[in-house]
Subunit: 404 residues, 2 copies
């Protein structure tokens, strides 16, 4: 008799965006005249850069002819892309990452989840709270989370580290032993960051305790302040304790184009095993590479032309973030993030779902209630800068009016 993975039955429903959609649909049905502005979902809206488009067209043409057609590529990614990544994302920061420490994949979400494959189920996982739900759910599926405590909205075996205004959005070191530590900077959902000194505390902790940091750098392209590291490997010692996830989704608008990469340093060894060799085995056995056409598109992000075009798009979203940040402040709200991030996180005068409803009904602006990201997200709301410039301005204006 086939037996199912019993951990799945423990998972609570994934209600956040479904519940938002339900409330928005209900309101729209009652008020078909309302012009809703959606600043809720973290998806990009600007088109792919012209250099990326050109590279993809060229690659499609190559696939049309026997002489230039590409079948199976290396599972870890083509050399041309791994080289461009090393040169474009690490060398500029004086970080020495080798090509064979880069694993090109279809998404940081996939990798953040799949990375658990190479670890025992007997690790204690630590996450920041609020948290990107994928870190928690994938560990719950694998059996590392224990039992879900419905009343407390948390898992019995996950170590939650509050990251709130009270501690300046810098998690405290764990008081009991943890083995796998997810850190995300710039953070989703709070939009805040860990600076060099703050991140060094974690690298030192992980090395001292033989823990592994799973560092999500998906929003790296939005960093503007000089003391925020673009990669954890800027911190000495990170190569012996950290795996890093990057994505072209937010950097270059690849959410619908699917390309990312994960860095597993060869110096990272646990229980005598090279995690680079283990991930290589996992990646080559359970994955078969990213489409050639997409890899050529990703490569173009690193050309001079591509880089300039991508920067322009990032600047567009950054200006939206500035508009949101300053507007919400003007509205009298306590505002965080948005400086090195497309996300602005603000304290709500009432609980987060009530304030979500008020913004929906009285300002016709859709946001994301912080409670959906974990217990410590309660009392906050996330707003994203990925919208249209005029609509973003209009949304902010409405919120200012509402709270006058």
């Amino acid at each position: 008799m086939a037996k199912v993975n019993e951990n799945y039955a423990k998972l609570p429903g994934s209600y956040l965006f479904a519940e938002i959609a339900r409330r928005v649909a209900a309101y729209s049905a009652e008020h078909p005249e309302a012009k809703l502005i959606k600043l809720g979902i973290g998806d990009v809206t600007r088109p792919l850069a012209p250099a990326v488009i050109e590279a993809m067209h060229k690659a499609v043409d190559e696939m049309a002819h026997k002489e230039t057609f590409r079948g199976y590529g290396p599972e870890q990614g083509y050399d041309f892309l791994r080289q461009a990544i090393v040169k474009g994302d690490f060398a500029p920061y004086g970080v020495n990452i080798a090509e064979d420490e880069i694993f090109v994949s279809d998404g940081a979400k996939s990798d953040c989840g799949n990375i658990g494959d190479i670890f025992s189920t007997h690790n204690v996982v630590a996450v920041c709270d609020p948290v990107y739900p994928v870190y928690v759910d994938t560990n719950a599926m694998a059996g590392r989370a224990g039992e879900y405590l419905t009343d407390e909205e948390r898992w019995s075996n996950i170590y939650y580290m509050p990251t709130t205004a009270e501690n300046g959005f810098v998690p405290e070191l764990p008081k009991t032993p943890v083995d796998l530590i997810y850190l995300c900077s710039p953070n989703n959902p709070t939009g805040t960051t860990l600076n060099r000194d703050q991140l060094k505390v974690w690298v030192d902790y992980a090395n001292e305790h033989d823990a592994v940091i799973l560092f999500d750098a998906a929003y790296e392209a939005f960093i503007t302040e000089p003391d925020v590291p673009h990669t954890i490997y800027e911190i000495p010692g990170a190569e012996t304790c950290a795996i890093e996830f990057h994505s072209f989704s937010k950097t270059a608008g690849f959410t619908g184009n699917r390309c990312a990469y994960t860095v597993v340093p060869k110096a990272l060894v646990r229980q005598g095993q090279s995690l680079n060799a283990m991930w290589n085995r996992r990646h080559t056995t359970k994955f078969n590479g990213v489409p050639y056409v997409v890899q050529r598109g990703a490569e173009a992000v690193y050309s001079e032309e591509g880089r300039n075009q991508v920067r322009e798009t990032i600047a567009f979203y950054q200006e939206n973030a500035r508009v949101i940040r300053e507007g919400l402040k003007e509205a009298g709200l306590e505002v965080y993030g948005g400086v090195n991030s497309p996300y602005v996180w603000f304290k709500t005068p009432t609980d987060s779902w009530s304030f979500f409803d008020r913004l929906l009904k009285e300002a016709n602006v859709v946001t994301t209630p912080g409670a959906g990201f974990g217990p410590s997200g309660e009392g906050y709301i996330r707003v994203t800068a990925f919208g249209d410039a005029e609509a973003t301005k209009e949304a902010v204006k409405r919120i200012i009016e509402l709270l006058k």
Copy 2:
């Protein structure tokens, strides 16, 4: 202290294609004048169909403009593709599969491995022997395989079902209980198939024992004989016991374009859990969809134009298979497969590595020794039909000469 997944350390090296490459390189270095013909690897060589190319160009153009740009798509695949699959791959065989039973993915290899996520590690896995190594390795990684017995070249907890000339390449029903059964028809590596009656035996067995069949239909497009089912769901009762994997890799030359899909019927329930709901949860949590451009390319495979073009390419490979099959017979070899498959499997006069060496050195033809696919692959060699037509003819001619 972070603890690794200790099952990885049990894995024997993945030597087959590396060892082939080593022997070929050594021979080439000594005989730079030798004109080697490679009939070893199962990768396609013909370009993508013009209809696919056109659809991909169009989709790339859509990604270039704000109005038509696509960000995150549904993780399970766009409706346009799921609808085309239902209409193109199931309706023609009178099989009633719903759109929400189709999960579009980046590859059948990924899915064949990842499907294990939704099952307990306490299942007994049965595989045909010889076998596509991914079935075994991914279960070993998950802890379902027990210990690797080096001398026997098998895992202690895997149930191996010999499929050889002696039983007509039809595995016998297990003598002890098994829970998850991998079947691949048309088979890789043997190129043989299970017909309707033979497959029905397995469907009945699985339903009777509450086992689950993991049916790999990656080579379905090569079927020519009417009594070979194109999908396991042609067999009554399969919807309550089988998950099916399809791929565009061999059907439409997508090995470098990465698109596939998995069917999980809603009627498939084990221990009170819907496997469709479980896989949906897994797919939406640990995967983020296939690139829009690639999905449009896959959709074009189902247009009238696309279908005709793809059939022409399949016919090209099928003619190669015929040339190989008849040529090897003429050479006096005992030959299997190649009728409903791009793979031809033949009995070797000596052990498979020795005969591989002889073909390499005396005919300058590269093949794949059967021993690499498991204990019962010993004494056979696999030849693939994915090469150039003239080169394939020349290779066969050389083998005939050699064995005269």
